[in-house]
Symmetry: C2
Subunit: 469 residues, 2 copies
C-alpha cells in the first residue's frame, strides 16, 4: 500500500531495526545464557526453542561484520546491474559483477563451513534449510532426474492429442478479487487475522496474527491471479496455524523454507488443481465473471481441468508447470553447488546451463542469456542454496497430501464440495501447529510414516498426467 | 488497513520499540554528548537541533520509571471504564478512577515542575506546547472570552433569519473518495509521498516521505468526510514540507501541536470554508455526486456557503463550529489548570463544568455527564495541558492566513480558481520549511510581524459571520 516515495524511509527504518536486532542477538553474554539454559531441565518445546536460539546465535555471530558489509554492497550493485544486463542479454558485462558476488559467497561458505563443520555448499544450504545436505539432496534429485525427462515427453505427447480452449474475455479486477476472497474463505483463511492486497509480485508477509497476502491482476486472464491467491493462501494458513503458545519464540516459527513452500504447493498443486476441486470451482468461475459463458466449451469442467494441468516445455522457471519445474531447479542446484565447492567458475556458467537445458528439457539457451542463466535474481542477490527448497517443497506437498488422502478417506468428496475443514485440521495437527519442534524428517515421519521420498511426487505426476482418463 | 486481530501484536511491537527508544535516549552518556556538543561552534540549525535534543533528554530522564508504569495502568483502566460510564452517564462510578489519574498527573506535574522550574500546569503544558505558559495563555484566552459569547449571540440571531437547505441524497463512498482525492490534489498533496484511506477517526500519520491521512464516510452526508479530508491534508502538507535536510533530526520535525493544528485549520477553516473557495468548489460538488441537482436551490453557492459556515450552540466540543469551539476549550483549560495546581478537586468538576457552560455557551449540563464532563477521552487518558493547543492553532491559523492575504494580493482570486500554489509556497517558506528552528513567537514574528495575538481570529470571525453580506 506504500506510495513509491516512501520506500527510502522504510528501507532506512528496516536497516536500523536490523542493526539493533543483530546487536541484541550477538551480545557476548547471550552465549552464557544459552549455555546456562542447556543445563536446566527442559520439556521438548523448551528444548527445541533453546536449540533454535543457539542456532540463530551461531549463525549471527560467525559472520565477520566487514564480510556482511562487502556482500551488501556487491549484491546491491549486482542486482541493480542485473535488471539492465538481463534485458540487454549482456553476459559479458554481467560476468565480472557476478564473479564478485560468487567470490564473497564462497568466502561466506568457508566461514560458515568452519563454524559448523559442514562442507561449503552444505553450510549455505543450512541457512535456508536446516539440516539439509548434498548427501541427502543428491539421491532425492537423482530419483527425479531418472524419471522426469521421460515423463515430460510422455505427457507432452499425450496433451498434444487433446484439444485446449482458452476462456476469453475481459475479467475485471473487482470480479477477480471477489473470487479470490471467496476461495480464500473456502480454504480456511482467517480474515480477522489477515488481508488480500495487490502488489507487483505475489507474496505472503506479516506476522501470524496479521498475515498479508498479495496477488497481481491482468484483465485478459484470470488463472494466474487466482492460482497466486491460492498459493499464497497456503503460505498464510501455515502462518495462521503456528503454535499460539510460542508466538514470538524461535520454536513457534515455521519449520523451514521447503516446508513453507510445501504448504503453498499443497494447496495450489495438490488440492486446487485436482479434478475434485475443479468440479467445485467450475460453477463458481462461471458465476464470477460477466465474460464467462456457461454454455461455451471453453468454460466446461473438462476443458478447465486441461487448462489447470497444462504442461509446456519452456525456458523460464517461474512460468514452468509442476512437471518441468524440478528440472529447472536441479539444473540450478548442480551449478551453484559446483560454484560454491570450487569445481566450476563463473565463466563456465552459460555453457553448463545450455548443456543441462538440452539434457533435461530439450531446449538450447546458447547465446540467449536473458532466458538462460540471467533469468533469476537469486545469484545476483547472493542467494546460493535457496533453489533446492522449491522442489523439496513440491515433493513434501505430494507426500503430505497422499497421506492426508489415506487418513481422510472422504477427502476427494470433500474437495469436490469445497470443504477444506478436515484437510486444514490435518495440516494444523501434522505441520502448522508443530512449529520448529521437530526436524524435517522427524516431522515427515510423524506425519507420513517416513522421511521425505521422491516417489510420492512421481506417483502424483503419473496419476494426474498419465493415468487419469 | 490492519485486520482487527492484528492489533495486539502491533501493540506489542510498538511497546517494544518504545522501550528500546527510551533506553537509547536516556543512556547516561547522552548527557555528556549534549554538554560536549554545546561547546562546539554551531550554526543556527545545529544549535536548534541540539536544544531539541537536550529538551527530549530532559523530558525523558526526569520521569521515574515506576510513575510512568503506574500511569500506564491507571490511564488504561480509566480509559476502558470511560467508554462504559460515559454511555451510562455514570459520574459516580467514573469519579474514583479519574481521581487516580488526576493524582498521578499531579505527581507527574510536580516532577516536571521540579526539573524545569515551571509551575505544575505549565510543566505539563510544556510537554505538548514548548514554551507555552498560563501567563501567556490567560491574556490570549481572556481576549477571546471577552468577545466570543456576545459574538456567538449575534451570529445566531443573524443566521436564524436566513434560510438553510440541506443537500439531500445518497452519496456513494466512491464518489466521495474521488472528490476527496481531487481536492487533495488541488491543495497540493504529493501522492508520491502519501495516501488517503479510511478509518474510524480521521487522522494524519506516517513520516514526511509517506504521509497517511484518513477520513470516514457516511452515505447520507458528504460535508463531514470532505472537511475531514481537507483538515488532514493541512496536517499532511506540513509534514511533506518539513526541511528535507533535517529529516529524522529533532529540528526537522513540526514545531508543536498548536502549529500543526494551525496548518489543518488554515486549510479547513480559513481557506476552504471561504466564500472564494466555495465559488471554485460548488461546480465540483455538483459534478461529483449523481444525487446533486445543479438546478436545486440546495446546491447553489449561496446555500452551500451557509452550510459551510453554519453556527450552532451545542454541548459537544468535537461537533462545534469555529465560533463556539474556543469556548469549549477555554472551559476545559480553566478546569484542568485548577485541577493540576491543586485549586480544584475531581468531585467539583461537574458543577464547575455546568456553571461555565451556562456562562460561555448558555447551556446547562446539570446531571448530563455524557454530554458534559465525560464527553472527552483526554482526561481519562491522562492528557492534561493538551486542550489549549486546539484554540492556539485556530488563532495562529487566522493570523497566518491574514498575513498571507496581505503578502499575496491575488490570493482570493487564486482560491476562487482552485489555485493553491502561492499559498502553499508561502506556508512552505514561513512555517513548513522552518521545522523547529525558531520558537513559536519567533516563527510568528518572522512570518507575520508579531507574536501570536487574538485579534486576527476575532477579525476573521467578525468578517465572515457578521460583516459579509
Amino acid at each position: 500500500m506504500m506510495p513509491a516515495g516512501g520506500g527510502e524511509a522504510r528501507g532506512q527504518a528496516l536497516a536500523t531495526l536490523e542493526v539493533i536486532m543483530h546487536g541484541m542477538l550477538t551480545e557476548p553474554r547471550v552465549a552464557g545464557w544459552i549455555e546456562g539454559a542447556s543445563e536446566q531441565p527442559l520439556d521438548p518445546w523448551q528444548s527445541a526453542n533453546l536449540r533454535e536460539m543457539a542456532r540463530s546465535y551461531r549463525q549471527a555471530t560467525c559472520m565477520p561484520a566487514d564480510l556482511v558489509e562487502r556482500q551488501r554492497l556487491a549484491t546491491s550493485r549486482c542486482e541493480q546491474a542485473w535488471r539492465r544486463y538481463r534485458a540487454e542479454n549482456n553476459w559479458q558485462a554481467m560476468a565480472p559483477l557476478l564473479q564478485e558476488v560468487v567470490t564473497l559467497a564462497r568466502e561466506e561458505a568457508a566461514v560458515r563451513a568452519d563454524a559448523s563443520g559442514l562442507s561449503r555448499y552444505d553450510a549455505l544450504l543450512d541457512t535456508y534449510e536446516p539440516g539439509m545436505t548434498c548427501a541427502r539432496l543428491d539421491p532425492l534429485f537423482g530419483d527425479l532426474k531418472a524419471f522426469l525427462p521421460g515423463l515430460l515427453d510422455e505427457v507432452l505427447a499425450r496433451q498434444a492429442a487433446g484439444p485446449l480452449l482458452t476462456p476469453e474475455g475481459s475479467f475485471s479486477i473487482e470480479e477477480q478479487r471477489q473470487l479470490g476472497l471467496e476461495i480464500m474463505r473456502t480454504l480456511g483463511f482467517d480474515f480477522e487475522h489477515g488481508r488480500l492486497d495487490v502488489s507487483h509480485h505475489p507474496f505472503c508477509g506479516g506476522v501470524p496474527s496479521d498475515v498479508r497476502i498479495t496477488t497481481r491482476y491482468r484483465n485478459d486472464e484470470f488463472l494466474a491471479a487466482l492460482m497466486g491467491v491460492i498459493h499464497e493462501t497456503g503460505h498464510a494458513l501455515y502462518e495462521q496455524g503456528l503454535p499460539a503458545n510460542w508466538r514470538q519464540q524461535p520454536v513457534g516459527q515455521a519449520l523451514s523454507m521447503a516446508m513453507h513452500e510445501s504448504q503453498s504447493l499443497l494447496m495450489e498443486m495438490q488440492a486446487c488443481r485436482s479434478r475434485d476441486f475443479l468440479h467445485y470451482l467450475t460453477p463458481h468461475l462461471q458465476k464470477a465473471f460477466a465474460a464467462a459463458d456457461p454454455a461455451s466449451p471453453a468454460w466446461q469442467e473438462d476443458n478447465l481441468h486441461r487448462l489447470f494441468t497444462r504442461v509446456k516445455r519452456g525456458y523460464i522457471r517461474v512460468d514452468a508447470d509442476e512437471v518441468s519445474y524440478p528440472l529447472h531447479v536441479i539444473l540450478r542446484y548442480e551449478l551453484e553447488r559446483d560454484l560454491m565447492e570450487g569445481r566450476m567458475e563463473v565463466t563456465e556458467i552459460p555453457e553448463a546451463w545450455d548443456q543441462r537445458m538440452q539434457q533435461y528439457l530439450g531446449l538450447s539457451t546458447a547465446g540467449n542469456y536473458t532466458d538462460g542463466c540471467l533469468q533469476d535474481v537469486h545469484w545476483p542477490a547472493g542467494l546460493f542454496g535457496y533453489f533446492p527448497t522449491y522442489t523439496l517443497g513440491a515433493m513434501t506437498a505430494a507426500q503430505l497430501f497422499a497421506t492426508a488422502r489415506t487418513d481422510i478417506p472422504e477427502l476427494p468428496r470433500q474437495l469436490a464440495g469445497g470443504n477444506f475443514c478436515a484437510l486444514l485440521g490435518w495440516l494444523r495437527d501434522k505441520v502448522h501447529g508443530q512449529g520448529k519442534l521437530l526436524d524435517y524428517d522427524g516431522l515427515m515421519t510423524r506425519a507420513t510414516g517416513s522421511p521425505l521420498q521422491a516417489r510420492y511426487f512421481r506417483d502424483h505426476l503419473q496419476q494426474r498426467y498419465l493415468d487419469a482418463r
